[in-house]
Amino acid sequence: MHAIRKQRLQWVIFTLVASSTAIGLVVYTLGQNINYFYTPSQIARGEAPLGVPVRAGGMVVRGSLVRDSESLDVAFDVSDGVAQLRVEYSGILPDLFGEGQAAIVAGVVDADAILQATEVLAKHDENYMPPEVADAMGEAYRQSIGSGGDY
């Protein structure tokens, strides 16, 4: 075969093999590492899988924050305006975390429907609400209007 043509063929075969391997790997790894976002209402209805990393978010309910006096364990509730979700966490809370403020938590929902958080994120600007939380609140609001429309 002509040298250049041979080069080209090798290149095509290589590209095919490499790209199909890569696509397979990417799809598999993505499947292993994506976290779905659930609203407190969805978790209350039992829509979130148990024991799998998920994310959730909402406003931290005023007066719900409880601290352990010996360790860094904390517990608080987040709400989307309709349902509340209990969150337990051990560690340092972010600076802008506060009652009445938006927060996103990542972790695992246990059998008691408590989210055991491994990460707590707060907004980082006083005017900013994470889009997920804004959507979650809007969604919950719409649903509460919808269910209230029966009478």
């Binding site: 890569a22 790894t29 993505l30 590492n33 994506i34 360790s71 340092i92 809370l93 980082h124 006083e126």
Partner: protein
Amino acid sequence: MQWARPIGNRSGRGVIISPELGHVALIIALCLALLQSSIPLLGSYLGVQRWMRLAHSLAIGHLVFVGIAFGCLVTAFMLDDFSLRYVVDNSNRSLPTHFKFSAVWSAHEGSLLLWALVLAAWGAAVAIFSRSLPLVFSARALSVLAMIAVGFGLFMLLTSNPFERTLPFPPENGSDLNPLLQDIGLIIHPPMLYMGYVGLSVPFAFAIAALLGGQFDSAWARWCRPWINVAWVFLTLGITLGSWWAYYELGWGGWWFWDPVENASFMPWLVATALMHSVAATEKRGVFRSWTLLLAIFAFSLSLLGTFLVRSGVLTSVHAFASDPERGLFILIFLSLVIGASLLLFALRGPAMNSKSAYTGAAREVMILTNNFILVAAMAMILIGTLYPLVADALQLGKISVGPPYFNFFFVPLSLVLMACLGIAASSRWRHTAVDVVAIRARIPVVLSFLLGALLPIPLGIWFSAAEYSIIAALTLAAVFWVVIMSLQDVRLKAQSVPLTRLPAGYWGMLCAHCGLALCALGVGLSSAYDSQRDMRMELGDVVEVAGYTFEFSGLNETQESNYRATRGVIAVSQGGRSIATLTPEKRHYQSGGQVMTEAAIDAGLTRDLFVALGEPLGGNSWAIRVQVKPFVRCIWLGGLMMGIGGLIAVADKRYRRRKKIPSMKRNRLVEPALEVFK
């Protein structure tokens, strides 16, 4: 109470007028850009020299007017002109002067203006330094740059005007700059990054001009190389600074999060790195022509994509400050226009530029191809991981986020393979490499680097009290030593035939950048392998031991600065009874916005950083405290810096200042373009 008001914003006429002046300057700049994007291009097809020459003066005029607009905004910040909405939102009377300056680009509108300014500066630089280029070519390239400027000018004037007023009732004071951004890192990080992002528009414009002209040779590639290098240097330094800033300011000790916005800056960097290598092959051997053009198009498209991701607010990210979906739509349309048009042009003209020279299995060409393959593969997997949540959201598949394990799973092995190839690539030859010779040469470095890689984790593990032998550290060390030893061996071999002073700057630049990469990898690998972190509750007087260091919480006091009040913890660090450092982490309360911020305290060292941060007060004298020992973390940024320096050294190569072949080219080009249209 009028009389009690500070006279700041009514002190002179200049304050009242300057925003309008800036606004008008912006409009004039847009008009100049419109002219620049059409007349020289038209001239290049009709063969009217005067029209083509206009590009150069228009480019400089454009810079002057964007500069005036930028100057006006700076003035407004400096004089506390709270009749501007943008100043109200991002500044405050009590803000220190240097932060008032950096507040100019701290939010959307101002950072766009900075983007426009940087673009105008690059355009003017092309106009000034392109005297040696064929006129047709430089006119077209400047027109392409102006088209981008038109897009951004319209974007700014229509959706995000920094000169919007709050009249007739301007507030007394502004709401302050986000405390996270009140830092030296923010003063320099965005301009550096933008210089890099926007700098990639120059190779892009050259690529488009080359495609329009249907001519793309090694003179083109040689001319392009310094521009690519300079843009790459800025991008490298910008990303490095960003990572460093995140580490001490908002990361609680993390330096890379695979955050969408970090990815957005990293993707153009990967492609620009690939481009920098492939354009070398194009220059030296005339190969990979259409591939080089494609990379130039992709590198800039990815920086536009980055701008879209950061500025549209579609992503939850540490950088996603309040933003507006309408702007996102505008950038999305602009992005698809730019990418669509340039890819269409590439599809029509690109294949005609195939290469003519042949090379064999282990030639440097193949090495560069491998480099490009790995870098582009890394970019592709980051792109998928970054965009997947967006696509899934748009398709109503749920709100998802892709975790760092996904990125690490691909990126870590890819970088190790990249470094393994890099070792051999340095000693490969163009056209043909004698494999057996390289194999003999590589024998000792292979053994040495594997030995060092396998053995060094043992003492390192003891030093940083690691629980077990770290495979990551072993692999990293082996790869790092492999790259460094092979590079040094190459210098030694070269020294046998040529005196070292005769070796070109390009060679030293490459060596420096490659060793920088190794240093950076060393930092990444070792700090991940031997990092120790403890979050705990500490009462005044408590002592804790982390990785062999003793941390004592020995004091707590309050301080007052001009725009915040801080609680300062005092933590004495010692090792084996010997005092090492006294760290004073702070918890700051900013008065104007009521925000709370953590200021970590770091004792920096080449081999380890000691990092202490105050969490929240837990009542009485106890605080949540984070203590970290991070081995070799500083090497990450030193490595980045070294890569940047390497890039700069390469730019200084004398080759780029040699002006050969120009007369003959000029003659060809003057006749040719007019013909092309009718071909």
